[in-house]
Structures are given as C-alpha cells and as structure tokens.
C-alpha cells in the first residue's frame, strides 16, 4: 500500500511557466512535507551509484494539509442538456446499437441514462444490462423505483439493437440480434405497465455508457460503467412497435436527440445529428475510430468511410485526467537550471513519492552544447503498466520469476490509476490512449531500472563527468520541431526512446541533415508511432498493428490513429525503420542475463579512431554494470535493407546472450527453430557510427543496458570511455 502519491499537471516546463502539483494521502495522513529536488540518479540498488539529488530552495517547499483525493475511472459520454421531451404524456423511445465486450463481470452496465443527481432518489431513467446481461429499463420518480427486464441475455461481442418505448403507462423493451445465427430467434420483446407517472426529466443530463452519480464542480462521478461498443444512441418520439424495427436507421427521422459517433471522430466531441444541438463530450478517453455494426472490411481506414466507424468503445478502466485538486503551484524561477526535477512528498506514516518533471532552458537562454532527451512519450506509453503480471507468458519471456514490488501490488489493487499502452482493458481489448494526468508509479526514482529510472544513469554520468547539459523532452520536440534541436551540437537519448511522432522524426531528420549529432544510448528506439491531439495535452495514442513485439494486436480496421488519421504500428511498417535514422533497429530481446560487446574490424577504421581512444583491441566492452552487462534487455542491429546507410561502421557486436534472447516477430516471416541467441547470429546488438548530411553524425549503442554500465568502477570503464570519446568529439564543432 503506497501512502502518498501525486502528479504534476504536465511533464515539462520552462522558467517562468507555472506547474501544478496534485497529491493524495492514500494512507490518510493529515499532513505531508514537500520539497523540490534536482534528480541526478535514481538507482538506489546495492550495486548502483545510489540515489543522488540536489535540494532546491523552492518557495513551495513546506508542509501541506493531507487529503485523499477522489478518482472517477471509466469512460462515458456526457450531454449536459440531453433529455428534451417537452411533454411526457406522449411518451418517448430510446434506441441504441451495442456490442458488449465484458459480460462476465456480472455487474450492472448502463447504456443510456438520464438521472437527477441533486434530488433524493435520483429521479430519472436508465437503460442498462443487468448482472445477467439482460436489457433492463429502470424508472424512478425519486420515491418509487420501477424496472422492466427482458428475460434474455444479450450475447457478448455481437451486435444487438435495443429499443425501449415508453408510453403513458407502459413500457416495451425489445432486443434484436443484428446478425442472428441459424435457428436463433432474432427478436424478443416485452411490454409491462408501470405504476406511476413518468418522472419529469426535462433538462437533465444524459450519460452514455455509465450512470451519473454525483457532480462536484467540474468533476463528474459515475457508476455502472459499461464495457463495449455503443453506436447511434437516440431519443425520439414514442413508437408502438419497437420489435418490428429492423435497423436503427429507420428511427433517425424526427429524433429529439441522436448522437452520431461517426462525426468528429478525431475529437472528444459527440455530435447530435438531430438538429436540436444536444451535443456532448466524452470523458476519460473511450476508444474512437473503431468499427461499427456495418463494417465488413470495406476499408481499413476510418477516414475513408466514417459512416462505417459510428461506434465508440467504452471501458470501465479508461482514464484521462484524475482532475485532482491542486495542492500547490510553482512558477519555475528564471534562474533554475535545466534538469530533471521532482517534488518529493513524504508523510509521517512512512509514505514517500516523487512527482517528476523536466525543466527545459528558457527559449532565449544560452544553451548547453548537449541536450539530454527525456523520453516523455515512452514514459507515458508504459505508464502504470500491468502487463507483466497479467500475461501468463511474461515469465517465459523474461526468463525469471515475475516480481511485484509495492508499486505493482498497489496498482494491481487500484485499477482506477489507469492502464498503460501495454495492457489490455478488463474486457480484453488493447489500450490505445495514455495520459500524464495521474500518478505514474513506474516513472519514479528508486523503482525498477527501466525507462525513467534507467535514463537517470545517463543524467548521473553527465553530471559526474561535469558535462554541461540541458534537458529536452519528447513532448517539446513534437510541438517545436527542429527549432528545439538546432540549438544543440549534440542530442543524447536515454536507454529506451521507443515512441515518436511523425513530427519528431521529421525534426531529427532535419537536424541530422544540417549538422546535428545524435547519440542514441539505448535499444528498441524509434520503434512505435505515436499520435497526439492539440486539444489533449499530455495524452498520446498508439495503434498497434500487424507487426512488432506487442502485448496485443488491435482488431482489423482499427489500426489508424483517431487523433491524426495516420496509420499506426511500427515506424518500420510506415516506411521509416529506425535504421534509416540511427543506423540500427530492434532485432531481439531477453531479460534474464545481459552480456557484452566485442570490437569488429570496422572499429579500426580511421573514421572511428576517436571513438576507441584508450580502448584495447581485444577488450570486452561492457562486461560489467549495474545490470550485469552493457548489451542487454532489448537489442538493435544494423540492417542495410531497412535503411542503415552504406557508409555506416558497425563498430562492435554483442555476444554470448542466453537462450531467452529471441528474434522479434518482425524479423521472422515464419516461425522456425533456432530463433534464440544460442543458434541465431542475428540475435545481437551492434554499435554503429556514421556521418550524416552537412557534418552531422550518429552514434548508436543498440542496447538498453548500455547506460547502466556507465557508472561502473567510479565511471572509469570502457563503456564510459567510448561514450565520453564520442560526446567530446560530437560537441567539438570541427568537421568530422
């Protein structure tokens, strides 16, 4: 149980900009202390350099009252003035097309609801599936409740049309299977009287895929979340024969409200196509650009035929923004050095958390020669990942027992902290959106040496070697492009810069062609394509498709990003394999034991002489380190067919990996024996160097664990020597 957690309202800031800190004392502490720290190293393991930070005399350091903040997890549609009948005596009709995806949870799931949350008894109505998956219509006047259910369970993962026709004193509820199986009854309906007048619900909000429970200011709290697709929910005048309705289209005319999800697919808006302007919005990022009931493979790209993409997939564990109250805000001082920072919050019950953020230099400030790239998109992609312990194949993949530390145990119990882009939702569908607006418990110092905490090894090495450097971030490169990069002689990445947008790759391409120099100190980099949306800062979208090492594959027809319309998946599948940018690309992974590199003949090329100054001909490179070896976890290699430049030098190659290191799926057109490191020579990392454009250059290590070897022997080792040789030469403006 973590006692205190929090987050900042955005990942990165510049001096003069404000940053809001949001904290929840989960253990119930009445107060907590906060202090701003500059982070240098987060590796507190016995074999590591130790946790290192510098205190910052920030105005916000101090003691604050503690509180436990609420979370509303689960996506839904919200129409503030949704129910529009002027006179209930004439009755009304509700209709919706659904494809439920998690009926085994055996809980009520609201499809469409209209409830007064500020009145006793919450008068209004709800159309839902009950715990037995039966369609139910509930009605309440605040004093009495009434429900009619159809004695039939709707099927999972198939399309159904549900209609409720409410007349003056009776209700008819009908269900139609849109694709009945042979000998399967397509239609069922039931009519029953109800014992009180229809409650007045004019002007009340309508919710889709959940029921409104309470409202606190701007925050909506919901219950009875539905998992599955919903299409074309509508409210219209009463009809007397709902069971005769074959398709929902026949009900479109004369609606009071009809929400057409095929419109504005790229946004969080839901459009009322009835002409009455009852537009709404989505909350907590349900999945858009998903196939509707009429999609049969006509196109794979939603922007070609939005009419086939009229559904939205809602999940009970979708989460966008926890919307916690701000505990304190800080305007970044003008003289604050660019760096990796965190607010350390701690309380008397032993709770401690670090709320990380990145400070870039002011736009017009003098720049350091080097910029370290914080992989904020990658951190978001892995945010609060559950997949390690939710996938039975993880252990055989890792080659070691699965381990759940305190943060993982906390997350396992607290699904309301959201999922990562590696996780499946509770209904089994893959997560496609991730957000910064929540505590991200695996983007912390003193946690596993992976991504953020592993990248601090590079920050530590830069600091210990007195290298003047700035911090830049994925989100800022995405927003500002090459303008952000061109101020620096050299960009240094972290251990795992995996996720990039089109704008980012364009920026790197232009930078390198115009004399920029890039040190890619990681593995599995520049691998997946990311999309963002200008209305949703701090949110990324990833659509995983046919190829790549992945925890799930999205359904056919759902592999184009909703935010941009771009095809998702690997950059390799989009014609921009990592080899074209950094000379190497992902080929293998394994997590049980890491190894080292040996030099190749090309390392003795005069062009590479500066790289190996002080390194012996036969030295093993990186047969040491916090993670056991500089070649490990995820490995990249050169491949001319995928774009490694012909003049690139392969300087060193890793050896002696274990049986657990296997080729990636995209490297295997068909399964075959001998895909592991024992038998397959393609399972290796390669150290690559090449010049670009007008005196630019790239140095790539092709291994995630390279950075974890920098600190070995008090930073005096051949991994640090090679890295330092390259860095010194790359920031030297003389031509290469």
């Amino acid at each position: 149980m973590l006692k205190i957690v929090g987050y900042t309202d955005r990942p990165s800031v510049r001096p003069g900009e404000g940053l809001a800190f949001k904290v929840s004392c989960e253990g119930g502490a009445a107060e907590y202390d906060a202090e701003i720290l500059r982070l240098i190293c987060g590796d507190d393991s016995p074999q590591g350099p130790g946790f290192k930070s510098d205190p910052v005399a920030a105005s916000v350091n101090g003691r604050y009252p503690g509180r436990k903040q609420r979370i509303n997890c689960g996506s839904f549609g919200y129409v503030e003035r949704g129910f529009v009948t002027h006179d209930h005596t004439g009755g009304f009709t509700l209709a919706v097309v659904i494809q439920p995806t998690w009926l085994t949870k055996k809980a009520d799931q609201a499809l469409l609801a209209c409830r007064a949350v500020d009145e006793p008894g919450r008068p209004g109505w709800s159309l839902l599936l009950d715990a037995a998956a039966r369609p139910v219509f509930e009605l309440s006047n605040g004093h009495h409740d009434y429900a009619i259910h159809l004695d039939l369970a709707v099927p999972e993962k198939r399309w159904s049309l549900i209609i409720v026709a409410v007349a003056g004193s009776s209700v008819t509820i009908s269900h139609r299977l849109l694709t009945p199986l042979p000998k399967e009854g397509a239609v069922a309906s039931m009519t029953a009287p109800f014992p009180f007048a229809i409650p007045r619900t004019r002007g009340l909000p309508v919710t889709i895929a959940a029921e409104l429970a309470s409202v606190e200011g701007e925050r909506l709290f919901t219950t009875r979340h539905y998992d599955g697709k919903i299409e074309s929910p509508l409210i219209r005048p009463w009809i007397d024969d709902p069971e005769s309705v074959g398709t929902i289209d026949s009900l479109f005319a004369g609606c009071y409200a009809r929400w057409d999800f095929s419109q504005s697919i790229g946004s969080q808006d839901i459009v009322d196509a009835s002409g009455h302007g009852r537009h709404g919005r989505l909350v907590n990022l349900p999945t858009r650009a998903v196939t509707g009931h009429n999609w049969k493979g006509q196109t794979l790209r939603w922007s070609d035929r939005p009419d086939l993409y009229g559904a939205i997939h809602f999940h009970c564990d979708d989460l966008h923004d926890m919307q916690w109250e701000t505990d304190f805000s800080w305007t970044i001082p003008a003289d604050l050095k660019s760096g990796v920072y965190a607010a350390r919050v701690s309380c008397a019950d032993g709770g401690e958390d670090f709320l990380p953020f990145f400070v870039l230099p002011a736009k017009k400030a003098p720049k350091a020669p080097v910029a370290f790239l914080a992989s904020t998109f990658t951190f978001m992609a892995y945010a609060n990942s559950h997949h390690g312990y939710e996938d039975a194949l993880s252990e055989v993949c890792y080659g070691a027992l699965l381990e759940l530390g305190p943060a993982e145990q906390f997350l396992k119990e607290r699904r309301d902290f959201g999922i990562s882009l590696y996780d499946r939702h509770r209904d089994g569908s893959g997560g496609v959106y991730s957000s910064w607006h929540r505590p991200i418990l695996n983007t912390r110092p003193k946690r596993a040496l992976w991504n953020f905490n592993a990248d601090l090894h590079v920050v530590d090495w830069l600091t210990e070697t007195s290298q003047h450097f700035d911090i830049i971030t994925d989100d800022h490169i995405h927003a500002e492009g090459v303008e952000l990069l061109r101020d620096y002689r050299c960009i240094v990445t972290g251990s795992h810069p995996e996720y990039h947008s089109t704008e980012m790759l364009d920026a790197f391409d232009t930078y390198l062609q115009n004399g920029g120099r890039l040190m890619y100190l990681g593995g599995n980099g520049f691998y997946w394509r990311v999309a963002t949306h200008s209305d949703l800062p701090g949110v990324i979208e990833v659509r995983r498709g046919e190829a790549g090492t992945r925890c799930f594959e999205l359904p056919p027809g759902e592999r184009f990003h909703s935010f941009t319309g771009e095809f998702g998946g690997l950059w390799r599948s989009n014609g921009r394999a990592p080899q074209t940018l950094v000379g190497v690309g992902f080929v293998a992974e394994g997590f049980d034991e890491n190894s080292h590199f040996v030099r190749t003949e090309q390392s003795f090329d005069p062009r590479a002489a500066f790289i190996f100054e002080g390194v012996g001909r036969d030295e093993k490179i990186g047969d040491f380190g916090v993670l056991g070896g500089a070649a490990g976890y995820e490995l990249d290699a050169a491949d001319p067919e995928l774009g490694t430049p012909p003049h690139a030098l392969v300087l060193a190659r890793s050896v002696e990996h274990s049986n657990v290191f296997l080729l990636t799926p995209e490297e295997m057109l068909a399964g075959f024996p001998g895909a592991d490191a024992i038998e397959n020579p393609k399972v290796r990392a390669e150290l690559v160097y090449f010049e670009t454009g007008t005196d630019g250059a790239v140095f790539s290590t092709g291994s995630i664990t390279w950075a974890a070897s920098l600190c070995h022997n008090s930073y005096d080792n051949n991994v640090a020597r090679i890295t330092g040789n390259v860095l010194r030469r790359f920031i030297d403006p003389r031509p290469l």
Partner: protein, 100 residues
C-alpha cells in the same frame, strides 16, 4: 507436449548452479514447460520492501483476482527461483526433487 524426465537430476543441478543465462537445450525445454504454466496458479513474487523480502504467491483465475500467498518467504530471488523450480518439478513429474 514435452515431458520432464524425473531422472535427469543433472539438469536440475544445472539450474540450481545457474538459474539465469545460457542453459543447455534440455534444461531450457524444462524451463519453457515450467514457465508457461497456466495463468491461474502461476507463481509470482511479492516484494514488500525495496529489496526484499519476497513472498511467493499464485495468480488467481483472472488478472482481476487477488494473488494468493503460499506462505513461502525468501530473502533473495535466486532462492525463490530454486524453490519454485522444485515445486514445479513435483507438479510436473509427480516426484520430489531430491537434490538437497
């Protein structure tokens, strides 16, 4: 399906000596069989401190279900790997692994 030969104590000894890294092909087959056991009942480690101790647990029927501790507690992951190896050996061969 690959079946573990309970007389191959040499392979168990190989694992005890070196649980991670390069293994013989035959030991790797044993490990593949053991580590691909079904989700329900799959062994995992619960680490309650920064660097231990470790409690052994078993996953529930679905990811939403709680992990059930078995009562085993370890001070190191290597120690846990060996105990889990023996538990799985017993389950898959029906015989105790008599190496200790």
């Amino acid at each position: 399906m690959y079946e573990i030969d309970p007389t191959r104590l040499d392979l168990a000894e190989e694992f005890r000596r070196k649980p991670y890294g390069r293994h013989s092909a035959e030991l790797q087959r044993i490990l593949n069989r053991m580590r691909t056991e079904p989700f329900e009942g799959h062994y995992v480690l619960l680490r309650d401190g920064r660097f231990g101790p470790y409690r052994l647990g078993q996953l529930g029927a679905t990811p939403a279900d709680p992990i059930a501790p078995t009562g085993h507690v370890f001070t190191s992951v290597r120690e846990a790997e060996w105990v889990v190896f023996k538990l799985r050996w017993k389950r898959l061969t029906g015989q105790d692994l008599a190496l200790d």
